[in-house]
C-alpha cells in the first residue's frame, strides 16, 4: 500500500523533488554536510537509508524514539486502539485522555523506585538547599495535579506559559540564553533568537534571556516581580547539553519562590528515564510548578504532548475550561501510545537497564577520550543525555559526518556546533552498546584528522 502512495524513480529524483516541493535549503544542507540521508525502513534503534545503509540512531529526534523505532509494544497498543478510537472530540471528557492524565499524575511518579541502599548520594555542592538538591533519585516532583494536552512540544510550552500568566497575572517570561523550547508563538520567543528573529517572533519586552548557570543574573531578572514564570530545560539540549551546576536549578526554584514566579521544567528531551529517573528534574530536588513533556512521551508512534501542573498553576481549568483548546491536543490514539510508553518506561527493569547503559558509556567514552584528549575535549553526561565536546568551533559536524559514514546517526548541537548530541536509547542491548562505541571511536579518530586539515569554519547553523 505504501508503494502505491509513495514512489520515486531514484534517490536523486526524490531529493530533487524534495527541494522543489518541500524544503530546498534543508535538503541541500544535508547533502553538503555529508549526510545524504533519506530514511526508509526503521526498526528498533536502526534506521535504513533508501539505498539500504544501516544507521544506529543516537539522535532519536531528541528522545522521540527512546524505546526504539516502531516499538512493538507501542505499535500493538496503537493498532489495537485504532480498532476503536481515532483522534477523538476535544470538547468532551475522553476515556484515553483521562486514563493518561491519571497515569501521569499517579502511576508515573510512583513507579519510579527509590534508589537502592548503597547508591551514592549527591555530593551536595555549594548552593544546595539542605536535604534536596543533587541527591540522586530524589523524590519525584510533588504537587502536580492536572494534565493539559497538546500535539507537540511547542504547543505544550505555549500552554504552560499561558497557564503561568493566568495563574500569576504577570506577563514576563524568563528563560536562559541559547534555550530551545519549540517554534510556536510563545515557545519560540522563549528560545534563542536563532529561530525567532527571522520571523519577527522575538518579544524582548516580555521575554528575558539570562545566562545559564548564573543565579545572580536570574535574580536580577526576577527582582522586578513582573515575571510569570522561569522556563528551564533541565539540560539545554540544542545548546549541547551544558549541565546545570550543582545547586543551580534548586537555586532558580528558590528564587522563583522568593519573587512569586512559577518554575516550568521543560523535560521534553530530558524526561522519560533518559537520566536514569523518570524526570531529570527530580535529580535536582526541584518540585516544578509545571512540567512539560513531548517527543518520546508517545513512543514516536502518534504525536501528543503533555503539561503537568499544580492546582495553583492550572487554575484556568477550573475558571474557564474552554479558554484553551486544541483539536489534536491529547488525540486519543496518542494518549494510548503514551499510556503504553509510560508503562514500559516505568518498569523497574528499564530503570536498571538505563543505569547499566549509562555506566557503559561513561566507561567507553572515557576510554576514547583518553586516546584523543586534545581533540575529544569534554564529556557532558547525565545518564543517557550526553554532549560530546570537540576542540574545533564546528567540531561536531566533522564527527557527525564520519559517524554517518560508519553507520551512526548523531546530530551536532545547533546552538553550539562544537558539541555532538549523543543520545542512545533506553532499551539498548549490551551488544549494540559495544558496537556503537567501536564505531564512535573510529569516527572520532578520523574526524580529528578532518578537522586538523580544515581551514573554513563551515556553514551557518
Amino acid at each position: 500500500m505504501t508503494e502505491e502512495l509513495i514512489s520515486f524513480a531514484s534517490k536523486q529524483d526524490m531529493l530533487a523533488k524534495s527541494k522543489q516541493f518541500w524544503n530546498p535549503d534543508k535538503t541541500q544542507f544535508w547533502i553538503d554536510s555529508g549526510v545524504p540521508l533519506v530514511i526508509d525502513r526503521r526498526e528498533g534503534y536502526f534506521i535504513y537509508d533508501v539505498e539500504g545503509k544501516r544507521l544506529i540512531d543516537v539522535h532519536l529526534n531528541g528522545g522521540t524514539y527512546n524505546l526504539g523505532h516502531r516499538n512493538p509494544e507501542v505499535a500493538a497498543a496503537v493498532t489495537a486502539a485504532m480498532q476503536r478510537f481515532d483522534i477523538g472530540n476535544h470538547h468532551f471528557p475522553s476515556l484515553a485522555r483521562t486514563a493518561l492524565a491519571e497515569a501521569l499524575i499517579k502511576t508515573a511518579p510512583r513507579a519510579v523506585d527509590s534508589p537502592p541502599k548503597g547508591e551514592p548520594r549527591g555530593s551536595g555542592g555549594k548552593g544546595f538547599p539542605p536535604g534536596s538538591g543533587g541527591s540522586p533519585g530524589g523524590s519525584p516532583p510533588r504537587g502536580l495535579a492536572k494534565v493539559m494536552y497538546g500535539s507537540g512540544g511547542g504547543e505544550a510550552i505555549d500552554i504552560a506559559l499561558k497557564s503561568a500568566r493566568h495563574a500569576t497575572g504577570r506577563r514576563g517570561i524568563v528563560s536562559v540564553a541559547k534555550a530551545y523550547h519549540g517554534h510556536t508563538g510563545l515557545a519560540v520567543a522563549a528560545g534563542d533568537e536563532r529561530f525567532a528573529t527571522l520571523f519577527l517572533a522575538d518579544r524582548p519586552d516580555e521575554f528575558t534571556h539570562v545566562p545559564f548557570n548564573d543565579l545572580d543574573a536570574m535574580e536580577a531578572a526576577l527582582r522586578g516581580r513582573d515575571v510569570a514564570a522561569v522556563i528551564m530545560e533541565t539540560i539545554p539540549a540544542t545548546y549541547g547539553f551544558p549541565l546545570p551546576a550543582p545547586g543551580y536549578l534548586a537555586g532558580v526554584k528558590r528564587l522563583c519562590g522568593r519573587y512569586g514566579a512559577l518554575y516550568i521544567a521543560d523535560e521534553v528531551q530530558t524526561g522519560l528515564m533518559r537520566t536514569g529517573e523518570l524526570w531529570a528534574i527530580s535529580k535536582h530536588g526541584v518540585d516544578p510548578d509545571i512540567l512539560v513533556s513531548g517527543k518520546g512521551i508517545s513512543g514516536g508512534m502518534y504525536p501528543v504532548s503533555v503539561v503537568l501542573a499544580t492546582e495553583a498553576a492550572a487554575g484556568w481549568l477550573t475558571e474557564d475550561g474552554f479558554a484553551h483548546m486544541s483539536t489534536f491536543g491529547g488525540a486519543e490514539l496518542g494518549c494510548v501510545a503514551a499510556l503504553k510508553t509510560l508503562e514500559i518506561t516505568c518498569r523497574p527493569e528499564v530503570r536498571s537497564m538505563v543505569h547499566y547503559i549509562a555506566g557503559t558509556f561513561t566507561d567507553g567514552l572515557a576510554r576514547i577520550q583518553a586516546t584523543y584528549p586534545d581533540w575529544f575535549t569534554g564529556i557532558r553526561q547525565d545518564g543517557l543525555v550526553m554532549g560530546l565536546e570537540f576542540g574545533h568551533p564546528q567540531g561536531a559536524k566533522f564527527v557527525m559526518k564520519r559517524l554517518y559514514e560508519h553507520g551512526v546517526w548523531a546530530i551536532f548541537s545547533t546552538l553550539d556546533p562544537r558539541v555532538l548530541q549523543y543520545k542512545p536509547g533506553v532499551l539498548l542491548t549490551p551488544a549494540l552498546c559495544e558496537e556503537l562505541l567501536e564505531r564512535t571511536e573510529v569516527a572520532i579518530g578520523k574526524a580529528r584528522d578532518d578537522a586538523a586539515g580544515d581551514t573554513a569554519t563551515g556553514r551557518r547553523r
Partner: protein, 542 residues
C-alpha cells in the same frame, strides 16, 4: 465501564485491555534484558567478591528457613515443615559450606598440558522450580548460579509462586547488598505457559535448568535453548539378607517419611529377598511402618490412583491422613504405609512413583530376581534417576548398579537424602540428572560446573615454544561500587573518574589454593550430615 454509557458493540470498553498483555510476556522479556546486563557485569567479578555475595545470599536464605518452610507447607499443602527447615538450611548455608573450597572464577594453569583455563559463566540461567521442593530448589539454583557468576530468572511453579518469589527476592536483596549487580536474581510473579515459553525460547536465556514434571522438561529441551532438564524418579530399593536389617528398616522408614516423601529420590518400591523378609518386616514395623492387609492395600491403591493416575492431592500428605481417607485405622505412630503386591507390572498402580509415604513391597526369592524387579520398576518410570540398596555383599551391589537403569544408587543409606547428596558424598542438590537413560543432558546431581565453561588458552605442544608465566594473573576485578553505578551527572562526580573495566588483568599474590573443579570439603560435609541426622533422630524420637 458502567452500564450507564451505551455501547455500540456487545463488549464493554476496557482501555486497560488494549494495553496490558495478560501473559506478562513483554515484562518477562524486559527481565531477560536486565538479566543480560547484569550477567555481563557479573562475569567479570573476582573470586573474593563472588564469595562474599554467595555467603550473604545463603545466610539470608538460611535465616528465613523456618519462615519459608511454614509458608511452603501453607501455600502448597505438601510436606512437613520441620523437614523443610532442614532442607532449606542444607540448601542454603549447607550447600555453600559444601562448595566453600571450590573456585569457579579464577583461571587455572596446567603447566604440564600447557593450557590455561579461564572460567566463563553461562550468563542468564532460567530456573524452573517445582512445587514439591519449592524453596530448597530456588536456593540451590540461585546459589549455584551466584557461585559461577551467572544471573538467574526464577520461574516458580504456580502452586508455590508466593513463597518462591519471596525466597528469590530475599536472596537477590542480600546478594545486591553484598555487591552483586542489580538484577542478579529476578523472579516471575505470575508464571503461565505462554510466559514460560517466551522465556525459554528467548535468545537472551543462556541455559534452562528445569526441575518439574515431564512436560516442562521436554518443553525445555525442545525450546532450542541449551537446557539441563531432569526426569522423574521411581525408586526401587533392594534389601538382601546380608544387610543390617534393623538399620536398613530404620533408614528406609526415616527416608520414606522425610518431608512425606516429597523428594523425588524417595523410595517407591521395597524389594526384599524372602530370606530377609520376615526379619525386615518386624524391624520396619518397629520403626513406624504399617503393613497393609490385602483389603486395606486395595483401598489405598484405589484412593491414591483413581482411574489409574496418581491423585496429586496426596503429594506430601502424611501416612495417618492417607490411612484415614482410605477409611483405615492404623496406629497413631504410623509413619509409612507398606503396600504389598506380587509383581511389578504396568497394570499395578502401586509400582509407580508415589510422592507420599506409601511404600510398595515386593518379595523376591533371590537377589537376582530382586534386580529383575528393580529393572521392572524403572521400566514404568524413573529411568536414569535413582535406586537404593541395603546389602553388605559387594558383588550384589555391583550387579545391581550395573543392571538397573539409573545413574546413582544409594547404598546403605536412606534414598531421599542419600541420592540428593545430603547423606552421601554426591553433590547436594534438589536437581537430579537423569542422563541418557532419562533423556537428559546431565548425569550428575546439579553442580556449579554445569553452569560455567572454560576458555582454554592452549599453547603449542612443542616445548621449544615457551609457556607463558600466568602465575597470579587474574582478569577479574572487584566492583568499584554499586553495579550499575547510579547515573550521577558528570559535573557532580568529583575528581576521580571511575576506573574503566577491562584494562587488562591484574596480578594478585593471593591465589586460590584449591583447583575449583575437584571437590574436597569432607569436614563440612560431615558437619551437615551430622546436623541432619541429629535433627532427624530427634524428629523420629518425638
Amino acid at each position: 465501564m458502567t452500564e450507564a454509557i451505551p455501547q455500540p458493540t456487545s463488549q464493554p470498553i476496557n482501555v486497560a485491555e488494549l494495553l496490558v498483555d495478560p501473559a506478562g510476556v513483554p515484562r518477562a522479556r524486559a527481565m531477560l534484558q536486565r538479566a543480560e546486563w547484569a550477567a555481563r557485569a557479573f562475569a567479570r567479578y573476582d573470586k573474593a567478591s563472588v564469595d562474599a555475595i554467595v555467603r550473604a545470599a545463603a545466610a539470608a536464605g538460611a535465616a528465613k528457613a523456618r519462615e519459608y518452610a511454614d509458608w511452603a507447607v501453607r501455600e502448597t499443602g505438601f510436606g512437613v515443615a520441620e523437614h523443610k527447615v532442614l532442607k532449606n538450611i542444607a540448601c542454603s548455608t549447607g550447600i555453600v559450606d559444601y562448595y566453600a573450597s571450590h573456585d569457579y572464577v579464577t583461571p587455572r594453569i596446567d603447566h604440564e598440558a600447557r593450557i590455561v583455563e579461564v572460567p566463563r559463566p553461562a550468563g542468564v540461567v532460567l530456573a524452573l522450580t517445582p512445587s514439591t521442593n519449592p524453596v530448597a530448589t530456588v536456593f540451590v539454583k540461585c546459589l549455584l548460579a551466584l557461585m559461577t557468576r551467572c544471573v538467574v530468572v526464577v520461574s516458580p511453579h504456580p502452586l508455590a509462586r508466593g513463597v518462591c518469589a519471596d525466597a528469590a527476592r530475599t536472596l537477590a536483596a542480600a546478594a545486591v547488598q553484598a555487591g552483586a549487580p542489580d538484577g542478579v536474581i529476578q523472579v516471575v510473579d505470575e508464571p503461565s505457559v505462554p510466559l514460560i515459553d517466551a522465556l525459554m525460547t528467548d535468545e537472551r536465556t543462556s541455559v534452562i535448568v528445569a526441575t518439574g514434571g515431564v512436560p516442562v522438561v521436554r518443553a525445555a529441551y525442545s525450546s532450542g535453548t541449551p537446557a539441563i532438564g531432569v526426569g522423574p524418579g521411581n525408586v526401587p530399593v533392594l534389601v538382601d539378607a546380608t544387610a543390617d536389617l534393623a538399620k536398613a528398616a530404620r533408614r528406609i522408614v526415616d527416608s520414606k517419611s522425610f518431608d512425606n516423601s516429597i523428594l523425588c529420590t524417595n523410595e517407591s518400591v521395597l524389594i526384599v529377598t524372602e530370606q530377609a523378609a520376615a526379619a525386615l518386616l518386624r524391624q520396619l514395623k518397629q520403626a513406624g511402618a504399617y503393613l497393609l492387609e490385602p483389603g486395606e492395600r486395595d483401598r489405598v491403591a484405589k484412593l491414591l490412583f483413581p482411574g489409574g493416575r496418581f491423585d496429586i492431592r496426596f503429594v506430601g500428605q502424611d501416612a495417618s491422613r492417607i490411612a484415614a481417607e482410605a477409611g483405615l485405622r492404623v496406629p497413631k505412630s504410623t509413619r509409612v504405609l507398606l503396600a504389598p503386591f506380587d509383581l511389578v507390572v504396568p497394570e499395578e498402580p502401586l509400582a509407580r512413583e508415589k510422592l507420599c509415604p506409601v511404600l510398595g513391597l515386593v518379595r523376591v526369592p533371590s537377589a537376582r530376581r530382586g534386580i529383575d524387579a528393580a529393572r521392572a520398576v524403572l521400566r514404568l518410570s524413573g529411568r536414569g534417576h535413582s535406586a537404593a540398596i541395603h546389602s553388605t555383599d559387594p558383588q550384589v551391589i555391583m550387579e545391581y548398579g550395573a543392571a538397573v537403569d539409573v545413574l546413582r544408587v544409594a547404598v546403605n543409606v536412606g534414598a531421599s537424602l542419600g541420592s540428593a547428596g545430603l547423606e552421601t558424598n554426591l553433590a547436594p542438590t534438589m536437581t537430579i540428572g537423569t542422563g541418557f537413560f532419562g533423556r537428559s543432558s546431565v548425569a550428575e546431581n546439579l553442580h556449579p560446573s554445569h553452569l560455567v565453561q572454560c576458555t582454554r588458552l592452549a599453547y603449542n605442544r612443542d616445548p621449544a615454544e615457551p609457556f607463558g608465566d600466568f602465575a597470579g594473573l587474574v582478569p577479574w576485578q572487584a566492583p568499584a561500587g554499586p553495579v550499575p553505578p547510579y547515573p550521577v551527572a558528570s559535573n557532580q562526580r568529583g575528581d576521580h573518574p571511575r576506573p574503566a573495566d577491562g584494562d587488562g588483568p591484574a596480578r594478585t599474590t593471593a591465589r586460590s589454593e584449591h583447583n575449583g573443579f575437584s571437590p574436597d570439603a569432607s569436614g563440612l560435609r560431615e558437619e551437615i550430615r551430622r546436623l541432619i541426622l541429629e535433627e532427624l533422630s530427634q524428629l523420629a524420637g518425638g
